[in-house]
């Protein structure tokens, strides 16, 4: 079965970011497909490569990057939500005249249409938020 996942909250602050990850891992372990993980609202903050969590804690961002690599996941960060919150990739930084970018490996920035498309193309869409 095809699952799409939407994440509306940032890492560490809300458990939503953890629940979504553990859910995605279980979906894959059961042989289902994760068609897309869409990061919206503060969820875009899961995609920064500048996090440095305490050494004895989970690394929420790296966990996603690794899961994406292992299972060829499509991790999509909403561009409008990302712009409001200071998440950008190299292209976007260039376009906006910013001197830095902060997106982590395995994530891509795209439009809100990708969420609706995921809803159309998947059997289930599960929202994790606050």
């Amino acid at each position: 079965m095809k699952f799409a996942i939407m994440i509306n909250e940032g890492p560490y602050t809300h458990q939503a970011a953890d629940s979504a990850y553990l859910f995605a891992r279980a979906v894959l372990a059961k042989g289902h497909e994760v068609t897309r993980v869409f990061f919206y609202h503060d969820g875009v903050n899961n995609a920064t490569r500048l996090t440095v969590p305490p050494a004895d804690d989970r690394h929420i961002v790296n966990r996603w990057s690794e899961l994406a690599k292992a299972h060829d996941l499509d991790l999509v960060v909403c561009i409008a939500a990302a712009q409001r919150r200071g998440l950008m990739d190299e292209n976007e930084a260039k376009r906006q005249g910013k001197d830095a970018n902060n997106i982590a490996p395995g994530f891509r920035i795209s439009g809100l249409g990708q969420l609706v498309e995921a809803g159309i193309q998947s059997d289930r869409l599960v929202v994790f938020g606050d």
């Binding site: 699952f3 859910f23 938020g129």
Partner: protein, 101 residues
């Protein structure tokens, strides 16, 4: 329809709203996750409303979240415990799903 509740019923109106809208209907189920799992515990001020709903609908709670909060021994009778695998199964088994954020 599977309804996911992730908020404490003592802090937030999500559970109350879900029960008002879906509690009297058949073919609805509730899954408590995150802080929502407190709604599955016994001896609380919301226990009766959850028990009443259980006459019509299946009620589940995510065991990892109960354990994290130290309330796995306080779950009321009739609530079914699931892990993340069971969470996935519940989403797959129901035609649709709604998170009450």
């Amino acid at each position: 329809m599977l309804h996911i509740i992730n908020k404490s019923p003592f802090e937030n109106n999500s559970l109350a709203s879900c029960l008002r809208v879906a509690g009297a209907a058949k073919d609805h189920a509730i899954l408590f996750i995150e802080d929502g799992v407190y709604g599955a515990t016994q001896g609380t001020a919301v226990e009766k409303s959850v028990r009443d709903a259980m006459a019509n609908m299946a009620v589940y709670a995510l065991n990892p979240d109960l354990e994290a909060r130290g309330v796995q021994g306080r779950v009321m009778n009739g609530v079914k415990l699931v892990d993340y695998d069971g969470f996935v199964d519940l989403v797959a088994e129901h035609d649709n799903v709604q998170s009450w954020l």
